[in-house]
């Protein structure tokens, strides 16, 4: 397998000026070395992609470079000098900025306040809101972000927050800009805008470090690619010389099987889950749909179309009204997530950090948090049972943990996602709703999750997938509902599910694509 790596030529040093060089750099947490012996050279005017499996150490490497953590070994040479950054702000002052994989914004402050935190614009010592607002509008518009400057971040969707975070990274001119999975929650059109922005940065001589699990993006964007595996640096390659298959192989260290399982085709069974005329004030207007056992139902749409809100509304997590919600033909009253579990509905949130996991808590308690009531018949808990569950989940979902004593916040992003998936599935729901199922999941594990979803559905469960990744919708779903501005505008089935059709329905709206029964009924009520 390693021969594969040898076939590909390592990249020669780029010609432009070297900005940053890592020599033998690594990071140790306690007894565990999570990154070792990285030798990397970053040049102005290049887009340098970093790829690797979940937990390979990509984010750790980026945090090293941007001063969030100090290297345990090796040196960082920046602009010809050996450097030890005193925290991220110091690195930022010297021209290196990191756009985090996880959202790091103050929810109780507005978009503008967050954008300019720590670098407020003032005139004669007085905060200059007008100027900041103008800059914010320009930045957000350039990224196609619909968030408004004085909106509280609390009110934004994850995707909008991600955009704000990106805008924050781009607010000032930097020598090195690092994006840690910026596109994991963005839809195709936003991604395109962002990629254009990144290319413009490169053309201005900025060095861009770019992490993504979407290999097509990497292929389209990167000049050079560095591959990490299990904390080791595998090598740096010229983008032109590697295909997506090569990348995947280098990352995983083995041949990959098919990404998507075979589709099952739309089901004609009686609906397992029916929602009629659901309205979530401010977000969703009169949405009706059904999910059938044995099929994967996708929800597509642009950022802010209201997909997340539909399900948060159904589960009583935000104020909502529905004419009827039926499970297995029986009407159910759902006022809380617990009621949802009772009815067999499991929901996996898109905001794993804010709503999914207790970051300061260990893995086992996180895993069983929502399953406590059925896991334990008696009132007391039992760590043996939990640890057994954790071991099972680690095996089943291939969660890469170096120690089970870790806190959830210490897992890599992708492994957090898998833990969250395990937590949701512990409920054994018959209706599984997954919001952004592969957010931050590497290519090798994606296929695992897809086949896992396939397995669920073949057992006669219904699975609803909200995804911003068009390929995922196309590759995975038997039927796709597309939303625009809080309304369901189209229903696509089987062969009709194509990237074009989804984009068209998401941007132009209803009537653009063929309408069948449910969809027709929907429009009737709109």
């Amino acid at each position: 397998m390693m021969e594969a790596a040898l076939e590909i030529r390592s990249a020669p040093p780029a010609e432009t000026a070297e900005l940053l060089r890592l020599t033998g750099a690594g990071k140790q947490y306690g007894p565990v070395t999570v990154l070792r012996d990285v030798n990397l050279s970053i040049h102005g005017g290049e887009i340098h992609a970093i790829i690797g499996e979940n937990g390979a150490g990509k984010s750790t490497l980026m945090r090293l470079i941007s001063g969030h953590i100090q290297p345990s070994f090796g040196t960082i040479n920046y602009l010809g000098e050996d450097m030890a950054f005193h925290g991220p702000a110091d690195a930022e002052r010297r021209g290196i900025v990191l756009v985090h994989q996880e959202i790091l914004l103050a929810e109780d402050l507005t978009v503008v306040e967050n954008l300019f935190l720590g670098r407020e614009v003032t005139r004669h010592g007085v905060i200059d809101d007008r100027t900041m607002e103008q800059i914010a509008i320009r930045q957000l518009a350039a990224l196609g972000c619909t968030a408004r400057p004085w909106q509280l971040v609390r009110e934004l969707s994850i995707a909008q927050r991600q955009m704000v975070q990106i805008a924050r990274g781009l607010l000032e001119e930097h020598r090195i800009v690092i994006f840690d999975e910026p596109t994991a929650v963005l839809t195709a059109s936003e991604v395109d805008l962002l990629l254009d922005k990144i290319r413009a940065l490169r053309d201005r001589g900025v060095a861009v470090l770019y992490i993504s699990h979407r290999l097509d993006e990497v292929e389209a964007l990167a000049d050079r690619i560095t591959v990490l595996r299990d904390g080791n640096m595998i090598g740096t390659y010229d983008a032109g010389s590697v295909t997506q298959q090569d990348m995947a192989r280098l990352m995983v260290g083995r041949e990959l099987s098919m990404l998507y399982p075979h589709k099952r085709g739309t089901s004609a069974a009686d609906p397992l889950f029916e929602v009629e005329h659901l309205s979530v004030p401010g977000f969703v207007h009169e949405a009706s749909f059904v999910a059938r056992p044995g099929e994967v139902l996708g929800f597509g749409g642009m950022i802010g179309a209201g997909r997340t809100e539909i399900f948060e509304g159904i589960l009583g997590l935000r104020p909502a009204k529905a004419a009827a919600i039926r499970v297995n033909g029986k009407p159910v009253q759902i006022r809380s997530v617990a009621d949802g579990f009772e009815a067999g509905i499991g929901y996996l949130t898109e905001d794993r950090k804010g709503k999914g996991l207790l970051l300061r808590e260990r893995l086992a308690p996180n895993l069983v948090l929502s399953a406590l009531s059925w896991l334990y018949r008696k009132i007391y808990t039992d760590e043996r049972i939990e640890n057994a569950e954790l071991n099972g989940a680690i095996r089943r979902y291939d969660i890469r943990v170096r120690s089970k004593k870790l806190e959830a916040g210490q897992l890599s992003g992708g492994n957090q996602q898998k833990l969250l998936l395990a937590k949701t599935m512990l409920q054994d729901p018959s209706i599984v709703i997954i919001d952004e199922p592969t957010r931050g999941i590497d290519i090798g594990n994606k296929s695992q999750i897809y086949s896992f979803i396939d397995e669920l559905v073949r057992q006669g469960k219904a699975c609803i997938v909200i995804s911003s990744e068009l390929q995922e919708l196309v590759g995975l779903c038997d039927r796709v509902l597309v939303m625009k501005d809080g309304r369901i505008t189209a229903e696509l089935r089987n062969g009709d599910v194509t990237e074009n059709a989804v984009v068209l329905a998401a941007t132009v709206g209803s009537g653009a694509v063929g309408s069948r029964e449910e969809n027709a009924r929907d429009r009737h009520h709109l």
Partner: protein
């Protein structure tokens, strides 16, 4: 690799199962004891230690309840006046029963006061969760309410226990079992039950989850309101238990009973290692905190060189130092 992991785990879990592994407050306590001994060797005399530890039990018992409330991300300022009110209500109830029931009035009074405590806690909890108001304000309000009740019940004076009940009731504070004062045993029992509930039950798990991150708790199907209300009820029951031990001590409830206990209780909990913003609670730490506070007060009287005017200053400084020791020892 999987092998090494599982090995690590088995070692850890034994280590983790001792949930009072956080030794910080105990180290602070030890330092204090040594300092106390150096200042005045009488400090370590058995009588003194017994006195102080017994005195610490009121705050300790209430602090066990407060650990739940604080762990769930709330705060209860009403505990002091609730204790006074519960004690007053208990005495009035027992005095009213005693002509007919005789000494049986005592167990009846105990059951009654437990109900009163639970009810007071329930009121706090419901107003906080249903009204969606900051617990600080709610319990500040009920603090005034319960305090006013005891003042009203006692006409501003005191509510003494019936003379015939005094003697049979006295052992509950002054009695010992195998040399250990009964309040200390009660306090230990409360702490054991409390730590079982907090560390070994579903409710305890949920309590800490709610305090650590409300959103995650909500998304995990936990009824935040119910958990918090229950935490307040537990707090109320603990206050009632403290009142039961308190009444035999001085044989009366007055409007000054339990004054400023709330501050002491919260301080004990925080010195014990529970964060005020919520999250994991440390019951044994809270107990250590309560003992630390009482030791400090004791030291002030036992030491000769502090002007009575400056006692509060020295106490304040020692509390801060105890907290520093606790933090410091925890970090390393």
């Amino acid at each position: 690799m999987t092998d090494t992991t599982s090995e690590l785990v088995s070692k850890e879990s034994v280590f983790q199962r001792i949930n009072w592994v956080d030794l910080g407050p105990f180290i602070a306590l030890a330092v204090l004891v040594v300092v106390g001994y150096l200042i005045n060797p009488d400090f370590l005399s058995p009588t003194n230690i017994t006195n102080v530890v017994t005195r610490a039990t009121f705050i300790g018992i209430i602090a066990v309840g407060a650990t739940f409330v604080i762990s769930s991300g709330c705060l209860d300022l009403s505990v002091g006046s609730m204790a006074a009110f519960a004690a007053g209500a208990m005495i009035l109830f027992m005095n009213w029963l005693v002509p007919t029931w005789g000494a049986n009035a005592i167990p009846a009074g105990i059951v009654f006061v437990l109900c009163v405590g639970a009810l007071c806690g329930l009121v706090n909890g419901l107003v906080v969760t249903l009204g969606k108001i900051e617990p600080f304000i709610v319990t500040l309000g009920t603090m005034g309410v319960y305090r006013a009740f005891i003042t009203f019940m006692s006409n501003g004076g005191s509510i003494p226990i019936d003379r015939s009940l005094r003697e049979p009731f006295r052992p509950l504070y002054f009695g010992t079992v195998m040399g250990i004062p009964i309040p200390v045993l009660v306090c230990a029992a409360v702490a054991i039950v409390g730590s079982f509930i907090l560390y070994k039950t579903k409710f305890g798990r949920r309590c800490a989850a709610v305090g650590a991150n409300v959103e995650v708790a909500r998304f995990s199907g936990i009824s935040v309101g119910r958990i918090r209300t229950l935490a307040f009820v537990i707090q109320g029951i603990c206050v009632a238990i403290a009142a039961i031990c308190y009444v035999p001590r001085l044989g009366a409830a007055t409007p000054t009973t339990g004054l400023l206990w709330e501050l002491q209780v919260i301080t004990a909990v925080v010195i014990g290692g529970t964060a005020l913003r919520g999250g994991k609670g440390h019951i044994w730490g809270s107990l250590a905190g309560a003992v630390i506070l009482e030791f400090i007060a004791n030291l002030m009287v036992l030491s000769d060189f502090i002007s009575e005017y400056l006692v509060a200053a020295v106490q304040g400084v020692i509390i801060i130092v105890a907290m520093l020791i606790q933090r410091f020892s925890r970090r390393s």
